[in-house]
């Protein structure tokens, strides 16, 4: 890159800049680093007052196996998986179709339906709380994973449709016209022409929705209670209440709860960022 202003400045300024940045970065991540350190310390370190020093022994395996084998965390994690995966699949299936309809066809109320989806995207979900809870109760889905999945799919469809429509709009329309001229039926156009082209958008959306749903706490509190259906976000609060003074277990539990979306993010970073950029800027 030709003009690098920073390279033209004096040597000392460059050095301070280069060294201050890592320091700032460590400060930024200090909360995470501290609980990571706490989570591998033995219980004894906390009673003897060795909070910030070097761990007297590494008890990472003991602490984490306690979280996995002696608490309800595995149940909560499993619940989260059973809530998140069907929601992601359902949202993508639905929004691929609606995005296709809004992006490809031109009909009179196209714009209004599109606005409805935009509005649905921005409505504060608090306003839905009481009616949705009553609806879920009446359908007999209160405190079930199915109830949570159904609601999440319905609510996320607005955002997903917006996302898909914008992506499909950017595809070369000539491809679809060419297929139509060849006499390919609409269903086949969708399945064999548009869907393969949408793969990057599908991946980005899947990663994005996965984190949204996995991290949801509001609806987990409103629509479920108890270990048989609550996801891990609600589970971790009861876990921490249970082990109130056991800092090493609380830290380990927090890390376990946060790990799946963070791992997802690092594995699928490209898609994640592509998704955010597409969703926000378009």
């Amino acid at each position: 890159m030709f003009p690098t202003p920073i390279a033209k400045t004096s040597r000392s300024w460059q050095l301070t800049y280069q060294s201050l940045l890592p320091v700032a970065l460590i400060l930024w991540l200090l909360p995470l680093i501290s609980i990571a350190v706490f989570s591998i310390k033995p219980d004894a370190d906390f009673t003897s007052g060795n909070y910030w020093g070097w761990p007297s022994s590494f008890e990472g395996i003991t602490n984490y196996s306690k979280v996995f084998f002696e608490s309800d965390m595995p149940r909560y994690l499993l619940n989260s998986v059973f809530i998140t995966v069907p929601t992601v699949l359902g949202c993508i299936a639905l929004s691929a179709m609606t995005g296709f309809a809004l992006g490809i066809y031109r009909f009179r109320s196209n714009l209004w339906i599109f606005f409805m989806f935009v509005a649905g995207n921005f409505v504060p979900f608090q306003i839905l709380m009481v009616p949705v809870r009553d609806l879920t109760l009446n359908l007999g889905l209160y405190n079930t994973k199915t109830g949570l999945v159904l609601f999440h799919i319905a609510f996320q469809t607005g955002f997903c449709t917006l996302f898909m429509r914008n992506f499909i709009r950017a595809l070369p329309f000539e491809l679809i016209e060419a297929a139509r001229v060849e006499g390919v039926s609409e269903w086949r156009i969708f399945w064999f022409v548009v869907l393969p082209l949408m793969k990057p958008a599908l991946a980005a959306l899947a990663v994005l929705i996965f984190t949204f749903i996995w991290n949801d706490y509001f609806w987990a509190v409103v629509l479920t209670q108890g270990v048989e259906s609550q996801p891990v976000t609600a589970g971790i609060t009861s876990f921490n209440a249970q082990y109130r003074a056991a800092y090493h277990l609380m830290s380990a539990g927090s890390i376990v709860a946060a790990l799946p979306p963070v791992a997802m993010f690092f594995l699928m970073q490209k898609h994640f960022i592509a998704g955010l950029t597409l969703g926000a800027v378009k």
């Binding site: 690098t4 202003p5 920073i6 940045l21 970065l25 200090l30 909360p31 995470l32 706490f38 909070y51 699949l89 359902g90 299936a93 639905l94 929004s95 179709m97 609606t98 309809a101 809004l102 066809y105 009909f107 339906i113 599109f114 606005f115 409805m116 989806f117 509005a119 921005f122 409505v123 504060p124 608090q126 306003i127 839905l128 709380m129 009481v130 009616p131 949705v132 999945v149 159904l150 319905a154 469809t157 039926s185 609409e186 969708f190 949801d216 706490y217 509001f218 509190v221 609060t237 800092y247 830290s251 927090s254 709860a257 946060a258 979306p261 963070v262 690092f266 955010l276 950029t277 800027v281």
Partner: protein
């Protein structure tokens, strides 16, 4: 493996159902309702094409209607009734709200959140995007700054509980204070007024990554020539940043700002898990949770107030979207 099997069956039935609905409804339209043959073939094709979009849209509109349109209206109606939902009391709930000092605190705090969090997140995001732009390890730095974004609000709050803990040993802030010689630990979450800002810091910590990612993409999109020209004309790095780069990405900055603003109006997790709304840190979304299962009338009234506050931002966004659509 009962729940596992159940999960797989749900997925298969759900996705299979979607595809089957889509396939068979199109088939029905093309072959049975308006077949593309016989004397009226041309007319039939046109008719089928007019109906087809609605086939694609129907499931989503139905879901959105059931879970979105109906609840918005239902909430408003419910907020006009009393606690048990039997008696119509008109604006009674709203009057009660505006008379309660707690609601006013929550409203005031919410205004603070809406001003501070988007501004700080955008500022730090822009700073991080600019500072890491030309670095060799910039991408690693960006990933690390972005990482909090992947953690749930609850998870982040629990992590920050360690930072704010009222204890010289566990609490990071108090540990630092102790290292500088301050004796007794303080509970930063109980300092009046400023405790709000300590809570906001958590959300800024999460959202900075989001702002940074979007803004750094925008910075990359700035035409190189404008920067070269400015440097040749002798602009210093600050002028280059504020007079050349920032004006060119203003549109993106506004988008980031409004996106975070809307998010701020919905976030309740942080206050709910950190202080439970005590010590005057209540904001509207968490204030509403107090009435959940207790007084639906008041809860929906609070929700509607939030809705009214969000409305201008929402309308502005829709207008932007419309402009974009030409």
């Amino acid at each position: 493996m009962n729940p596992f099997l159940q999960g797989i069956i749900t997925i298969v039935v759900g996705v299979g159902g979607c595809i089957a609905y889509f396939y068979f409804s199109n088939l029905f339209l093309d072959k049975v309702l308006f077949p593309a043959r016989g004397p009226k073939a041309g007319q039939n094709i046109n008719r089928a094409n007019q109906i087809r979009p609605w086939l694609f849209l129907f499931p989503a509109i139905f879901a959105l209607g059931l879970y979105l349109a109906y609840p918005v209206v239902g909430s408003f109606v419910r907020s006009l009734y009393n606690r048990s939902g039997n008696d119509f009391i008109g604006a009674g709930n709203y009057i009660r709200l505006f008379e309660s000092p707690e609601f006013r605190t929550a409203f005031f705090n919410n205004i603070l959140w809406v001003i501070f969090v988007p501004a700080a997140s955008t500022f730090f995001g822009l700073l991080a995007a600019q500072l890491t732009d030309k670095l060799s390890w910039g991408n690693i730095a960006k990933s690390l700054i972005f990482m909090p974004m992947a953690i749930s609000f609850v998870g982040a709050s629990l992590i920050w509980k360690f930072v704010y803990a009222n204890d010289n040993d566990i609490g990071l802030i108090n540990a630092i204070r102790a290292a500088f010689g301050a004796g007794n630990p303080i509970d930063v979450l109980q300092i009046p007024f400023w405790n709000n800002f300590f809570l906001m810091v958590i959300l800024v910590w999460i959202q900075t990554g989001f702002a940074m990612v979007i803004l750094s993409a925008a910075l990359r999109g700035i035409p190189e020539e404008t920067i070269e020209a400015a440097i040749l004309d002798g602009a210093n790095p600050f002028q280059l940043f504020f007079k050349i780069k920032v004006p060119q990405i203003m549109g993106t900055i506004v988008v980031v700002w409004t996106t975070i603003t809307i998010l701020v109006l919905k976030v309740f997790d942080i206050v709910y898990t950190m202080t439970g709304g005590n010590f005057d840190t209540e904001i509207l979304p968490s204030y509403m949770m107090k009435f959940m299962f207790r007084d639906d009338g008041l809860a929906t009234a609070v929700a509607f107030v939030i809705m009214v506050v969000v409305l201008p931002v929402m309308i502005w966004n829709i207008m932007q979207a419309r402009k974009e659509m030409r």
